[in-house]
Assembly symmetry: C2
Homo-oligomer: 322 residues x 2
Amino acid sequence: MTLTDPTTSTTTATSTTAPDLDAARAALRARLLADRVLIDLGSPGLYGRTGVFERVYTAVDAAAVNSQQDLDAEVLRFPPVEPLAAFERTDYIASFPDLAASISGFTGDDRTHRALLAARERGERWEGFLEPADLMLTPAVCHPVYGLVGDTIPQEGRFFDIVGDSFRREPSLDPMRLQAFHMHEFVHIGTPASAQQHRDGRIPVMRELLESFGLEIDVVPANDPFFGRVGQMLARNQVEQALKFEFVTPVYGDDHPTTAISSANLHEDHFGTSFGLRTADGEVAHSACIAFGLERITIALFAAHGTDVDAWPAPVRAALAL
Amino acid sequence: MTLTDPTTSTTTATSTTAPDLDAARAALRARLLADRVLIDLGSPGLYGRTGVFERVYTAVDAAAVNSQQDLDAEVLRFPPVEPLAAFERTDYIASFPDLAASISGFTGDDRTHRALLAARERGERWEGFLEPADLMLTPAVCHPVYGLVGDTIPQEGRFFDIVGDSFRREPSLDPMRLQAFHMHEFVHIGTPASAQQHRDGRIPVMRELLESFGLEIDVVPANDPFFGRVGQMLARNQVEQALKFEFVTPVYGDDHPTTAISSANLHEDHFGTSFGLRTADGEVAHSACIAFGLERITIALFAAHGTDVDAWPAPVRAALAL
Protein backbone atom coordinates (compact mmCIF):
# COMPACT_ATOMS: atom_id res chain seq x y z
CA MET A 1 0.00 0.00 0.00
CA THR A 2 1.34 3.39 -0.94
CA LEU A 3 0.49 6.59 0.82
CA THR A 4 0.74 8.90 -2.12
CA ASP A 5 -1.28 12.06 -2.10
CA PRO A 6 -3.80 11.64 -4.90
CA THR A 7 -3.64 15.23 -6.10
CA THR A 8 -1.28 17.87 -7.22
CA SER A 9 0.10 20.16 -4.61
CA THR A 10 3.84 20.39 -4.64
CA THR A 11 6.22 22.79 -6.12
CA THR A 12 9.06 20.47 -7.03
CA ALA A 13 11.50 22.16 -4.69
CA THR A 14 10.09 24.04 -1.74
CA SER A 15 12.94 24.00 0.76
CA THR A 16 15.57 25.65 -1.44
CA THR A 17 14.18 29.14 -1.57
CA ALA A 18 17.07 31.08 -2.95
CA PRO A 19 16.67 34.80 -2.26
CA ASP A 20 16.15 35.48 -5.95
CA LEU A 21 13.44 32.80 -6.11
CA ASP A 22 11.65 34.58 -3.28
CA ALA A 23 12.09 37.81 -5.21
CA ALA A 24 10.66 36.24 -8.37
CA ARG A 25 7.65 35.00 -6.43
CA ALA A 26 7.15 38.39 -4.80
CA ALA A 27 7.41 40.08 -8.20
CA LEU A 28 4.72 37.86 -9.75
CA ARG A 29 2.47 38.35 -6.73
CA ALA A 30 2.94 42.12 -6.85
CA ARG A 31 2.16 42.19 -10.56
CA LEU A 32 -1.02 40.11 -10.17
CA LEU A 33 -2.19 42.40 -7.36
CA ALA A 34 -1.22 45.65 -9.12
CA ASP A 35 -2.94 44.60 -12.34
CA ARG A 36 -6.07 43.57 -10.40
CA VAL A 37 -5.95 39.89 -11.36
CA LEU A 38 -5.97 38.91 -7.68
CA ILE A 39 -6.94 40.87 -4.56
CA ASP A 40 -5.05 40.49 -1.29
CA LEU A 41 -7.37 39.26 1.48
CA GLY A 42 -4.80 39.80 4.22
CA SER A 43 -3.82 36.15 4.69
CA PRO A 44 -0.97 34.58 2.67
CA GLY A 45 -2.36 32.28 -0.02
CA LEU A 46 -5.93 33.58 0.11
CA TYR A 47 -7.04 35.92 -2.66
CA GLY A 48 -10.11 37.51 -4.11
CA ARG A 49 -10.35 36.95 -7.85
CA THR A 50 -11.46 39.55 -10.36
CA GLY A 51 -13.24 39.30 -13.70
CA VAL A 52 -10.06 38.79 -15.73
CA PHE A 53 -8.96 35.94 -13.48
CA GLU A 54 -12.39 34.32 -13.77
CA ARG A 55 -12.37 34.72 -17.53
CA VAL A 56 -9.14 32.73 -17.88
CA TYR A 57 -10.01 30.27 -15.09
CA THR A 58 -13.34 29.42 -16.75
CA ALA A 59 -11.62 28.96 -20.11
CA VAL A 60 -8.97 26.67 -18.59
CA ASP A 61 -11.62 24.53 -16.93
CA ALA A 62 -13.72 24.29 -20.09
CA ALA A 63 -10.66 23.24 -22.14
CA ALA A 64 -9.70 20.65 -19.50
CA VAL A 65 -13.20 19.15 -19.53
CA ASN A 66 -13.27 19.16 -23.30
CA SER A 67 -9.98 17.26 -23.46
CA GLN A 68 -11.46 14.43 -21.36
CA GLN A 69 -14.87 14.30 -23.05
CA ASP A 70 -14.21 10.82 -24.48
CA LEU A 71 -14.16 9.35 -20.94
CA ASP A 72 -17.91 9.96 -20.66
CA ALA A 73 -17.30 10.29 -16.92
CA GLU A 74 -20.05 10.53 -14.27
CA VAL A 75 -20.30 14.08 -12.88
CA LEU A 76 -19.88 14.47 -9.12
CA ARG A 77 -19.49 17.66 -7.11
CA PHE A 78 -18.73 17.92 -3.40
CA PRO A 79 -18.86 20.73 -0.84
CA PRO A 80 -15.60 22.21 0.51
CA VAL A 81 -16.05 20.31 3.78
CA GLU A 82 -16.27 16.58 4.41
CA PRO A 83 -17.39 14.54 7.42
CA LEU A 84 -14.56 13.59 9.78
CA ALA A 85 -15.51 9.91 9.34
CA ALA A 86 -14.78 10.11 5.60
CA PHE A 87 -11.54 12.02 6.17
CA GLU A 88 -10.40 9.37 8.67
CA ARG A 89 -10.55 6.64 6.04
CA THR A 90 -7.82 8.28 3.97
CA ASP A 91 -4.82 8.39 6.35
CA TYR A 92 -4.30 12.05 5.40
CA ILE A 93 -3.66 13.05 9.04
CA ALA A 94 -0.79 10.54 9.16
CA SER A 95 0.90 11.76 5.98
CA PHE A 96 0.06 15.48 5.81
CA PRO A 97 -1.02 16.65 9.31
CA ASP A 98 0.39 20.14 8.75
CA LEU A 99 -1.87 20.66 5.72
CA ALA A 100 -5.08 19.40 7.37
CA ALA A 101 -7.80 21.73 8.70
CA SER A 102 -10.57 20.85 11.12
CA ILE A 103 -13.76 22.81 11.77
CA SER A 104 -15.23 23.90 15.09
CA GLY A 105 -18.65 25.31 15.89
CA PHE A 106 -20.40 26.94 18.83
CA THR A 107 -22.79 24.65 20.68
CA GLY A 108 -23.21 26.66 23.88
CA ASP A 109 -26.17 28.50 25.38
CA ASP A 110 -26.94 32.19 25.90
CA ARG A 111 -24.71 32.33 28.96
CA THR A 112 -21.69 30.76 27.25
CA HIS A 113 -22.29 33.14 24.36
CA ARG A 114 -22.10 36.10 26.74
CA ALA A 115 -18.82 34.74 28.11
CA LEU A 116 -17.48 34.38 24.56
CA LEU A 117 -18.45 37.97 23.72
CA ALA A 118 -16.93 39.23 26.98
CA ALA A 119 -13.63 37.48 26.17
CA ARG A 120 -13.75 38.97 22.68
CA GLU A 121 -14.44 42.41 24.15
CA ARG A 122 -11.30 42.05 26.28
CA GLY A 123 -9.31 41.32 23.14
CA GLU A 124 -8.85 37.65 24.02
CA ARG A 125 -9.15 34.72 21.64
CA TRP A 126 -12.62 33.20 21.73
CA GLU A 127 -12.19 30.06 19.56
CA GLY A 128 -11.79 28.08 22.79
CA PHE A 129 -15.56 28.45 23.29
CA LEU A 130 -16.09 26.36 20.14
CA GLU A 131 -16.17 22.56 19.89
CA PRO A 132 -14.92 20.25 17.10
CA ALA A 133 -17.78 19.83 14.63
CA ASP A 134 -16.81 16.45 13.12
CA LEU A 135 -16.01 18.17 9.84
CA MET A 136 -12.75 18.74 7.96
CA LEU A 137 -11.96 20.99 5.03
CA THR A 138 -11.53 18.64 2.06
CA PRO A 139 -7.83 18.40 1.22
CA ALA A 140 -8.24 16.37 -1.99
CA VAL A 141 -11.36 16.63 -4.09
CA CYS A 142 -11.47 12.96 -5.12
CA HIS A 143 -11.41 11.66 -1.51
CA PRO A 144 -15.20 11.52 -1.04
CA VAL A 145 -15.81 9.37 -4.14
CA TYR A 146 -14.25 6.16 -2.81
CA GLY A 147 -16.76 5.91 0.02
CA LEU A 148 -19.72 6.36 -2.34
CA VAL A 149 -19.26 3.76 -5.07
CA GLY A 150 -20.49 0.67 -3.24
CA ASP A 151 -18.37 -2.41 -2.65
CA THR A 152 -18.25 -3.77 -6.18
CA ILE A 153 -16.93 -2.04 -9.25
CA PRO A 154 -18.09 -3.39 -12.63
CA GLN A 155 -15.32 -5.14 -14.55
CA GLU A 156 -15.08 -2.33 -17.12
CA GLY A 157 -14.54 0.12 -14.25
CA ARG A 158 -16.06 3.53 -13.59
CA PHE A 159 -14.97 7.03 -14.52
CA PHE A 160 -15.77 10.16 -12.50
CA ASP A 161 -15.55 13.86 -13.36
CA ILE A 162 -15.03 15.69 -10.06
CA VAL A 163 -14.32 19.34 -9.48
CA GLY A 164 -14.23 20.90 -6.10
CA ASP A 165 -12.56 22.98 -3.46
CA SER A 166 -9.36 21.82 -1.88
CA PHE A 167 -7.89 23.39 1.25
CA ARG A 168 -4.33 22.95 2.49
CA ARG A 169 -2.95 24.88 5.39
CA GLU A 170 0.29 26.14 3.88
CA PRO A 171 0.31 29.94 3.97
CA SER A 172 2.78 31.22 1.37
CA LEU A 173 3.60 34.41 -0.48
CA ASP A 174 4.19 32.33 -3.63
CA PRO A 175 1.07 33.05 -5.72
CA MET A 176 1.37 29.51 -7.14
CA ARG A 177 0.72 28.12 -3.65
CA LEU A 178 -2.81 28.88 -2.44
CA GLN A 179 -4.47 27.67 0.73
CA ALA A 180 -7.86 27.33 -1.00
CA PHE A 181 -7.97 26.17 -4.61
CA HIS A 182 -9.84 23.97 -7.07
CA MET A 183 -8.86 20.75 -8.80
CA HIS A 184 -10.69 19.25 -11.74
CA GLU A 185 -10.08 15.52 -11.47
CA PHE A 186 -10.91 12.56 -13.66
CA VAL A 187 -10.86 9.43 -11.53
CA HIS A 188 -10.94 5.83 -12.69
CA ILE A 189 -11.68 2.87 -10.43
CA GLY A 190 -11.23 -0.55 -12.01
CA THR A 191 -8.67 -3.32 -12.46
CA PRO A 192 -4.88 -2.97 -12.04
CA ALA A 193 -4.54 -2.84 -15.82
CA SER A 194 -7.32 -0.30 -16.45
CA ALA A 195 -6.10 1.97 -13.64
CA GLN A 196 -2.58 1.96 -15.06
CA GLN A 197 -3.99 2.57 -18.52
CA HIS A 198 -5.99 5.57 -17.21
CA ARG A 199 -2.91 7.20 -15.74
CA ASP A 200 -0.58 6.41 -18.63
CA GLY A 201 -3.04 6.95 -21.45
CA ARG A 202 -4.06 10.42 -20.28
CA ILE A 203 -0.54 11.80 -19.87
CA PRO A 204 0.05 12.62 -23.56
CA VAL A 205 -3.41 14.25 -23.85
CA MET A 206 -2.80 16.43 -20.80
CA ARG A 207 0.67 17.37 -21.94
CA GLU A 208 -0.60 18.36 -25.37
CA LEU A 209 -3.39 20.45 -23.84
CA LEU A 210 -1.08 22.34 -21.46
CA GLU A 211 1.46 22.90 -24.24
CA SER A 212 -1.30 24.28 -26.46
CA PHE A 213 -1.70 26.99 -23.80
CA GLY A 214 1.84 28.15 -24.65
CA LEU A 215 3.36 26.66 -21.50
CA GLU A 216 6.68 24.82 -21.44
CA ILE A 217 5.84 21.46 -19.85
CA ASP A 218 7.89 18.63 -18.42
CA VAL A 219 6.46 15.43 -16.89
CA VAL A 220 8.37 14.30 -13.80
CA PRO A 221 7.88 11.92 -10.85
CA ALA A 222 6.03 13.71 -8.04
CA ASN A 223 7.64 14.64 -4.78
CA ASP A 224 4.84 15.29 -2.28
CA PRO A 225 5.58 17.05 1.04
CA PHE A 226 5.06 14.07 3.38
CA PHE A 227 5.41 15.16 7.01
CA GLY A 228 8.23 14.39 9.42
CA ARG A 229 10.87 11.68 9.50
CA VAL A 230 8.56 8.84 8.45
CA GLY A 231 7.40 11.17 5.70
CA GLN A 232 10.93 11.46 4.31
CA MET A 233 10.88 7.72 3.71
CA LEU A 234 7.42 7.87 2.14
CA ALA A 235 8.60 10.69 -0.12
CA ARG A 236 11.62 8.63 -1.26
CA ASN A 237 9.35 5.65 -1.95
CA GLN A 238 7.00 7.85 -3.95
CA VAL A 239 9.78 9.05 -6.24
CA GLU A 240 11.27 5.55 -6.62
CA GLN A 241 7.96 3.88 -7.39
CA ALA A 242 7.06 6.60 -9.90
CA LEU A 243 3.34 6.17 -9.29
CA LYS A 244 2.51 9.85 -9.50
CA PHE A 245 3.71 12.17 -12.22
CA GLU A 246 3.43 15.91 -12.25
CA PHE A 247 3.18 18.31 -15.17
CA VAL A 248 5.63 21.04 -14.25
CA THR A 249 6.36 24.40 -15.83
CA PRO A 250 9.15 26.96 -15.19
CA VAL A 251 6.91 29.75 -13.83
CA TYR A 252 9.92 31.59 -12.40
CA GLY A 253 12.30 31.05 -15.29
CA ASP A 254 14.76 28.32 -16.20
CA ASP A 255 17.13 29.09 -13.33
CA HIS A 256 14.51 28.23 -10.71
CA PRO A 257 12.66 25.06 -9.79
CA THR A 258 9.58 24.30 -11.84
CA THR A 259 6.07 24.26 -10.39
CA ALA A 260 3.50 21.45 -10.72
CA ILE A 261 0.24 22.55 -12.37
CA SER A 262 -1.38 19.13 -12.98
CA SER A 263 -0.78 15.50 -12.10
CA ALA A 264 -1.46 11.91 -13.08
CA ASN A 265 -1.49 9.51 -10.17
CA LEU A 266 -1.75 5.73 -9.97
CA HIS A 267 -3.01 4.82 -6.47
CA GLU A 268 -2.72 1.06 -7.13
CA ASP A 269 -4.78 -0.66 -4.38
CA HIS A 270 -4.42 2.17 -1.83
CA PHE A 271 -8.03 3.38 -1.88
CA GLY A 272 -9.42 -0.01 -2.92
CA THR A 273 -8.00 -1.51 0.27
CA SER A 274 -8.91 1.43 2.54
CA PHE A 275 -12.49 1.55 1.29
CA GLY A 276 -13.04 -2.18 0.67
CA LEU A 277 -13.59 -1.87 -3.09
CA ARG A 278 -13.48 -4.96 -5.30
CA THR A 279 -13.93 -5.51 -9.00
CA ALA A 280 -16.49 -7.99 -10.33
CA ASP A 281 -13.85 -10.76 -10.37
CA GLY A 282 -13.37 -10.36 -6.60
CA GLU A 283 -9.94 -8.70 -6.73
CA VAL A 284 -9.16 -5.49 -4.83
CA ALA A 285 -10.00 -2.54 -7.09
CA HIS A 286 -7.22 -0.22 -8.24
CA SER A 287 -7.64 3.45 -8.97
CA ALA A 288 -5.95 6.31 -10.75
CA CYS A 289 -6.65 10.01 -10.95
CA ILE A 290 -5.63 12.78 -13.28
CA ALA A 291 -5.93 16.27 -11.86
CA PHE A 292 -5.88 19.75 -13.34
CA GLY A 293 -4.81 22.41 -10.81
CA LEU A 294 -7.13 25.12 -12.09
CA GLU A 295 -5.69 28.13 -10.22
CA ARG A 296 -2.11 27.01 -10.85
CA ILE A 297 -2.67 26.66 -14.60
CA THR A 298 -4.45 30.04 -14.65
CA ILE A 299 -1.69 31.85 -12.77
CA ALA A 300 1.01 30.12 -14.84
CA LEU A 301 -0.75 31.56 -17.91
CA PHE A 302 -0.68 35.10 -16.48
CA ALA A 303 3.00 34.59 -15.57
CA ALA A 304 3.85 33.36 -19.08
CA HIS A 305 1.72 35.70 -21.20
CA GLY A 306 1.10 38.77 -19.04
CA THR A 307 -2.05 40.18 -17.48
CA ASP A 308 -3.55 41.66 -20.68
CA VAL A 309 -5.42 38.63 -21.98
CA ASP A 310 -6.37 40.25 -25.27
CA ALA A 311 -2.67 40.64 -26.05
CA TRP A 312 -1.87 36.94 -25.56
CA PRO A 313 -0.53 35.05 -28.59
CA ALA A 314 -3.31 34.13 -31.00
CA PRO A 315 -2.69 30.34 -30.82
CA VAL A 316 -2.96 30.46 -27.01
CA ARG A 317 -6.22 32.40 -27.15
CA ALA A 318 -7.48 29.93 -29.76
CA ALA A 319 -6.59 26.92 -27.60
CA LEU A 320 -8.48 28.50 -24.70
CA ALA A 321 -11.32 29.83 -26.88
CA LEU A 322 -10.60 33.26 -25.40
CA MET B 1 -27.20 50.41 12.98
CA THR B 2 -29.01 47.23 12.18
CA LEU B 3 -27.60 43.77 12.57
CA THR B 4 -29.42 42.10 9.75
CA ASP B 5 -27.86 39.10 8.12
CA PRO B 6 -27.09 40.24 4.59
CA THR B 7 -28.02 37.00 2.93
CA THR B 8 -30.76 34.48 2.61
CA SER B 9 -30.76 31.63 5.04
CA THR B 10 -34.01 31.25 6.83
CA THR B 11 -36.95 29.05 6.35
CA THR B 12 -39.71 31.36 7.47
CA ALA B 13 -40.72 29.13 10.33
CA THR B 14 -38.15 26.74 11.72
CA SER B 15 -39.34 26.07 15.22
CA THR B 16 -42.81 24.77 14.39
CA THR B 17 -41.88 21.46 12.87
CA ALA B 18 -45.19 19.67 12.78
CA PRO B 19 -44.68 15.92 12.39
CA ASP B 20 -46.12 16.04 8.88
CA LEU B 21 -43.73 18.85 7.94
CA ASP B 22 -40.85 16.64 9.06
CA ALA B 23 -42.39 13.85 7.00
CA ALA B 24 -42.66 16.10 3.93
CA ARG B 25 -39.01 17.10 4.31
CA ALA B 26 -37.94 13.47 4.74
CA ALA B 27 -39.96 12.50 1.66
CA LEU B 28 -38.30 15.14 -0.54
CA ARG B 29 -34.88 14.17 0.77
CA ALA B 30 -35.55 10.48 0.13
CA ARG B 31 -36.74 11.20 -3.40
CA LEU B 32 -33.68 13.35 -4.23
CA LEU B 33 -31.39 10.60 -2.93
CA ALA B 34 -33.28 7.73 -4.58
CA ASP B 35 -33.36 9.52 -7.95
CA ARG B 36 -29.62 10.29 -7.68
CA VAL B 37 -30.01 14.07 -7.67
CA LEU B 38 -28.10 14.27 -4.39
CA ILE B 39 -25.80 11.79 -2.65
CA ASP B 40 -25.76 11.39 1.13
CA LEU B 41 -22.30 12.15 2.53
CA GLY B 42 -23.17 10.91 6.02
CA SER B 43 -23.58 14.33 7.66
CA PRO B 44 -26.97 16.11 7.70
CA GLY B 45 -27.00 18.99 5.22
CA LEU B 46 -23.92 17.89 3.28
CA TYR B 47 -24.48 16.25 -0.09
CA GLY B 48 -22.65 15.16 -3.18
CA ARG B 49 -24.28 16.47 -6.33
CA THR B 50 -24.74 14.51 -9.52
CA GLY B 51 -24.87 15.53 -13.17
CA VAL B 52 -28.60 16.27 -13.18
CA PHE B 53 -28.26 18.55 -10.15
CA GLU B 54 -25.35 20.37 -11.79
CA ARG B 55 -27.28 20.75 -15.01
CA VAL B 56 -30.14 22.59 -13.27
CA TYR B 57 -27.86 24.48 -10.87
CA THR B 58 -25.76 25.82 -13.76
CA ALA B 59 -28.91 26.86 -15.62
CA VAL B 60 -30.30 28.65 -12.55
CA ASP B 61 -27.06 30.54 -12.05
CA ALA B 62 -26.84 31.55 -15.71
CA ALA B 63 -30.43 32.82 -15.67
CA ALA B 64 -29.80 34.76 -12.46
CA VAL B 65 -26.70 36.42 -13.92
CA ASN B 66 -28.53 37.19 -17.13
CA SER B 67 -31.36 38.89 -15.23
CA GLN B 68 -28.87 41.31 -13.63
CA GLN B 69 -26.75 41.97 -16.72
CA ASP B 70 -27.85 45.63 -16.90
CA LEU B 71 -26.05 46.33 -13.59
CA ASP B 72 -22.69 45.89 -15.35
CA ALA B 73 -21.36 44.76 -11.98
CA GLU B 74 -17.67 44.15 -11.19
CA VAL B 75 -16.97 40.42 -10.87
CA LEU B 76 -15.45 39.23 -7.59
CA ARG B 77 -14.95 35.68 -6.36
CA PHE B 78 -13.77 34.63 -2.90
CA PRO B 79 -12.52 31.37 -1.38
CA PRO B 80 -14.75 29.46 1.08
CA VAL B 81 -12.60 30.67 3.99
CA GLU B 82 -11.90 34.20 5.18
CA PRO B 83 -9.29 35.64 7.55
CA LEU B 84 -10.50 35.94 11.14
CA ALA B 85 -9.69 39.67 11.05
CA ALA B 86 -12.21 40.20 8.23
CA PHE B 87 -14.83 38.05 9.95
CA GLU B 88 -14.40 40.06 13.15
CA ARG B 89 -15.44 43.28 11.42
CA THR B 90 -18.93 41.93 10.73
CA ASP B 91 -20.34 41.16 14.22
CA TYR B 92 -21.48 37.76 12.93
CA ILE B 93 -20.25 36.02 16.10
CA ALA B 94 -22.52 38.28 18.16
CA SER B 95 -25.65 37.64 16.08
CA PHE B 96 -25.21 34.08 14.77
CA PRO B 97 -22.60 32.29 16.92
CA ASP B 98 -24.28 28.92 16.47
CA LEU B 99 -23.88 29.14 12.68
CA ALA B 100 -20.22 30.22 12.70
CA ALA B 101 -17.33 27.83 11.98
CA SER B 102 -13.67 28.35 12.80
CA ILE B 103 -10.71 26.47 11.34
CA SER B 104 -7.83 24.83 13.18
CA GLY B 105 -4.56 23.46 11.84
CA PHE B 106 -1.66 21.36 13.11
CA THR B 107 1.47 23.36 13.93
CA GLY B 108 3.33 20.76 16.00
CA ASP B 109 6.53 18.82 15.39
CA ASP B 110 7.24 15.15 14.69
CA ARG B 111 6.86 14.27 18.36
CA THR B 112 3.49 15.98 18.73
CA HIS B 113 2.41 14.29 15.53
CA ARG B 114 3.28 10.89 17.02
CA ALA B 115 1.21 11.77 20.10
CA LEU B 116 -1.70 12.76 17.86
CA LEU B 117 -1.50 9.49 15.95
CA ALA B 118 -1.24 7.50 19.19
CA ALA B 119 -4.39 9.20 20.52
CA ARG B 120 -6.13 8.45 17.23
CA GLU B 121 -4.98 4.83 17.41
CA ARG B 122 -6.60 4.59 20.87
CA GLY B 123 -9.85 5.84 19.36
CA GLU B 124 -9.61 9.21 21.10
CA ARG B 125 -10.38 12.57 19.52
CA TRP B 126 -7.26 14.23 18.16
CA GLU B 127 -8.52 17.71 17.22
CA GLY B 128 -7.15 18.97 20.53
CA PHE B 129 -3.67 18.72 18.98
CA LEU B 130 -4.67 21.42 16.49
CA GLU B 131 -4.53 25.21 17.01
CA PRO B 132 -6.89 27.96 15.77
CA ALA B 133 -5.63 29.03 12.33
CA ASP B 134 -7.04 32.59 12.24
CA LEU B 135 -9.47 31.54 9.53
CA MET B 136 -13.26 31.18 9.48
CA LEU B 137 -15.54 29.53 6.96
CA THR B 138 -17.27 32.41 5.15
CA PRO B 139 -20.88 32.62 6.36
CA ALA B 140 -22.03 35.27 3.86
CA VAL B 141 -20.40 35.62 0.48
CA CYS B 142 -20.63 39.42 0.33
CA HIS B 143 -18.77 39.95 3.64
CA PRO B 144 -15.26 40.21 2.16
CA VAL B 145 -16.18 42.96 -0.30
CA TYR B 146 -16.66 45.75 2.25
CA GLY B 147 -13.06 45.57 3.42
CA LEU B 148 -11.72 45.76 -0.14
CA VAL B 149 -13.36 48.82 -1.68
CA GLY B 150 -11.20 51.53 -0.11
CA ASP B 151 -12.56 54.32 2.05
CA THR B 152 -14.36 56.37 -0.58
CA ILE B 153 -17.14 55.21 -2.84
CA PRO B 154 -17.76 57.29 -5.99
CA GLN B 155 -21.01 59.26 -5.86
CA GLU B 156 -22.65 57.00 -8.46
CA GLY B 157 -21.85 54.00 -6.27
CA ARG B 158 -20.38 50.63 -7.18
CA PHE B 159 -21.98 47.32 -8.13
CA PHE B 160 -20.44 43.91 -7.48
CA ASP B 161 -21.28 40.46 -8.85
CA ILE B 162 -20.18 37.97 -6.19
CA VAL B 163 -20.70 34.24 -6.09
CA GLY B 164 -19.15 32.01 -3.52
CA ASP B 165 -19.39 29.36 -0.89
CA SER B 166 -21.30 29.98 2.27
CA PHE B 167 -21.08 27.72 5.33
CA ARG B 168 -23.51 27.71 8.24
CA ARG B 169 -23.35 25.15 10.99
CA GLU B 170 -26.98 24.05 11.09
CA PRO B 171 -27.17 20.31 10.40
CA SER B 172 -30.66 19.46 9.19
CA LEU B 173 -32.49 16.68 7.40
CA ASP B 174 -34.47 19.32 5.47
CA PRO B 175 -32.86 19.22 1.99
CA MET B 176 -33.64 22.95 1.68
CA ARG B 177 -31.25 23.64 4.57
CA LEU B 178 -27.65 22.84 3.66
CA GLN B 179 -24.54 23.47 5.73
CA ALA B 180 -22.48 24.34 2.65
CA PHE B 181 -24.12 26.21 -0.20
CA HIS B 182 -23.62 28.97 -2.76
CA MET B 183 -25.15 32.41 -3.07
CA HIS B 184 -24.97 34.59 -6.15
CA GLU B 185 -25.16 38.14 -4.85
CA PHE B 186 -25.36 41.53 -6.50
CA VAL B 187 -24.16 44.15 -4.05
CA HIS B 188 -24.47 47.90 -4.32
CA ILE B 189 -22.53 50.38 -2.19
CA GLY B 190 -23.51 54.02 -2.59
CA THR B 191 -25.80 56.67 -1.12
CA PRO B 192 -28.87 56.03 1.06
CA ALA B 193 -31.08 56.66 -1.97
CA SER B 194 -29.13 54.47 -4.40
CA ALA B 195 -28.90 51.60 -1.89
CA GLN B 196 -32.66 51.71 -1.32
CA GLN B 197 -33.20 51.90 -5.07
CA HIS B 198 -30.99 48.82 -5.58
CA ARG B 199 -33.00 46.76 -3.13
CA ASP B 200 -36.42 47.98 -4.22
CA GLY B 201 -35.74 48.17 -7.94
CA ARG B 202 -34.49 44.60 -8.18
CA ILE B 203 -37.38 42.96 -6.36
CA PRO B 204 -39.79 42.88 -9.34
CA VAL B 205 -37.04 41.55 -11.65
CA MET B 206 -36.15 38.76 -9.22
CA ARG B 207 -39.78 37.88 -8.65
CA GLU B 208 -40.46 37.69 -12.35
CA LEU B 209 -37.41 35.48 -12.90
CA LEU B 210 -38.31 33.03 -10.13
CA GLU B 211 -41.94 32.89 -11.29
CA SER B 212 -40.74 32.16 -14.84
CA PHE B 213 -39.21 28.98 -13.36
CA GLY B 214 -42.74 27.82 -12.53
CA LEU B 215 -42.39 28.56 -8.81
CA GLU B 216 -45.13 30.16 -6.71
CA ILE B 217 -43.42 33.17 -5.12
CA ASP B 218 -44.31 35.52 -2.31
CA VAL B 219 -42.14 38.42 -1.08
CA VAL B 220 -42.18 38.79 2.71
CA PRO B 221 -40.13 40.53 5.43
CA ALA B 222 -37.23 38.31 6.49
CA ASN B 223 -37.02 36.63 9.85
CA ASP B 224 -33.38 35.65 10.40
CA PRO B 225 -32.44 33.21 13.20
CA PHE B 226 -30.67 35.67 15.50
CA PHE B 227 -29.20 33.85 18.51
CA GLY B 228 -30.40 33.95 22.11
CA ARG B 229 -32.48 36.45 24.05
CA VAL B 230 -30.85 39.55 22.59
CA GLY B 231 -31.36 37.92 19.23
CA GLN B 232 -35.12 37.71 19.76
CA MET B 233 -35.16 41.50 20.00
CA LEU B 234 -32.98 41.86 16.92
CA ALA B 235 -35.28 39.50 15.03
CA ARG B 236 -38.34 41.57 16.01
CA ASN B 237 -36.56 44.75 14.90
CA GLN B 238 -35.68 43.15 11.61
CA VAL B 239 -39.28 42.29 10.82
CA GLU B 240 -40.56 45.70 11.98
CA GLN B 241 -37.99 47.68 10.03
CA ALA B 242 -38.64 45.60 6.90
CA LEU B 243 -35.10 46.10 5.64
CA LYS B 244 -34.70 42.58 4.29
CA PHE B 245 -37.23 40.81 2.13
CA GLU B 246 -37.22 37.16 1.19
CA PHE B 247 -38.60 35.44 -1.87
CA VAL B 248 -40.40 32.44 -0.44
CA THR B 249 -42.02 29.44 -2.07
CA PRO B 250 -44.24 26.64 -0.67
CA VAL B 251 -41.79 23.78 -1.22
CA TYR B 252 -43.78 21.52 1.13
CA GLY B 253 -47.23 22.50 -0.01
CA ASP B 254 -49.65 25.22 1.03
CA ASP B 255 -50.29 23.73 4.48
CA HIS B 256 -46.67 24.19 5.54
CA PRO B 257 -44.44 27.22 6.04
CA THR B 258 -42.78 28.54 2.92
CA THR B 259 -39.01 28.48 2.38
CA ALA B 260 -36.83 31.44 1.39
CA ILE B 261 -34.90 30.89 -1.85
CA SER B 262 -33.61 34.43 -2.49
CA SER B 263 -33.49 37.78 -0.70
CA ALA B 264 -33.19 41.52 -1.13
CA ASN B 265 -31.57 43.27 1.78
CA LEU B 266 -31.04 46.94 2.60
CA HIS B 267 -28.15 47.20 5.09
CA GLU B 268 -28.51 50.99 5.44
CA ASP B 269 -25.25 52.22 7.08
CA HIS B 270 -24.43 48.89 8.81
CA PHE B 271 -21.42 47.93 6.71
CA GLY B 272 -20.56 51.53 5.83
CA THR B 273 -20.09 52.26 9.54
CA SER B 274 -18.32 48.98 10.38
CA PHE B 275 -15.87 49.32 7.50
CA GLY B 276 -15.50 53.13 7.48
CA LEU B 277 -16.93 53.61 3.98
CA ARG B 278 -17.96 57.08 2.80
CA THR B 279 -19.41 58.40 -0.41
CA ALA B 280 -17.72 61.23 -2.32
CA ASP B 281 -19.86 63.81 -0.46
CA GLY B 282 -18.41 62.63 2.86
CA GLU B 283 -21.53 60.84 4.14
CA VAL B 284 -21.42 57.26 5.48
CA ALA B 285 -22.00 54.89 2.56
CA HIS B 286 -25.11 52.71 2.52
CA SER B 287 -25.32 49.30 0.95
CA ALA B 288 -27.83 46.77 -0.29
CA CYS B 289 -27.54 43.22 -1.56
CA ILE B 290 -29.74 40.94 -3.56
CA ALA B 291 -28.96 37.26 -3.24
CA PHE B 292 -29.95 34.16 -5.17
CA GLY B 293 -29.74 30.99 -3.06
CA LEU B 294 -28.54 28.72 -5.86
CA GLU B 295 -29.00 25.33 -4.18
CA ARG B 296 -32.36 26.35 -2.67
CA ILE B 297 -33.72 27.49 -6.04
CA THR B 298 -32.41 24.29 -7.66
CA ILE B 299 -33.95 21.99 -5.07
CA ALA B 300 -37.22 23.95 -5.10
CA LEU B 301 -37.33 23.27 -8.85
CA PHE B 302 -36.87 19.52 -8.34
CA ALA B 303 -39.56 19.62 -5.65
CA ALA B 304 -42.00 21.48 -7.90
CA HIS B 305 -41.35 19.76 -11.24
CA GLY B 306 -39.89 16.35 -10.37
CA THR B 307 -36.47 14.83 -10.92
CA ASP B 308 -36.85 14.12 -14.66
CA VAL B 309 -35.74 17.45 -16.08
CA ASP B 310 -36.64 16.60 -19.65
CA ALA B 311 -40.26 16.15 -18.53
CA TRP B 312 -40.50 19.63 -16.96
CA PRO B 313 -43.08 22.03 -18.45
CA ALA B 314 -41.80 23.58 -21.68
CA PRO B 315 -42.06 27.21 -20.43
CA VAL B 316 -39.92 26.32 -17.39
CA ARG B 317 -37.29 24.65 -19.54
CA ALA B 318 -37.36 27.65 -21.86
CA ALA B 319 -36.89 30.11 -18.97
CA LEU B 320 -33.89 28.08 -17.82
CA ALA B 321 -32.61 27.38 -21.35
CA LEU B 322 -32.68 23.69 -20.42
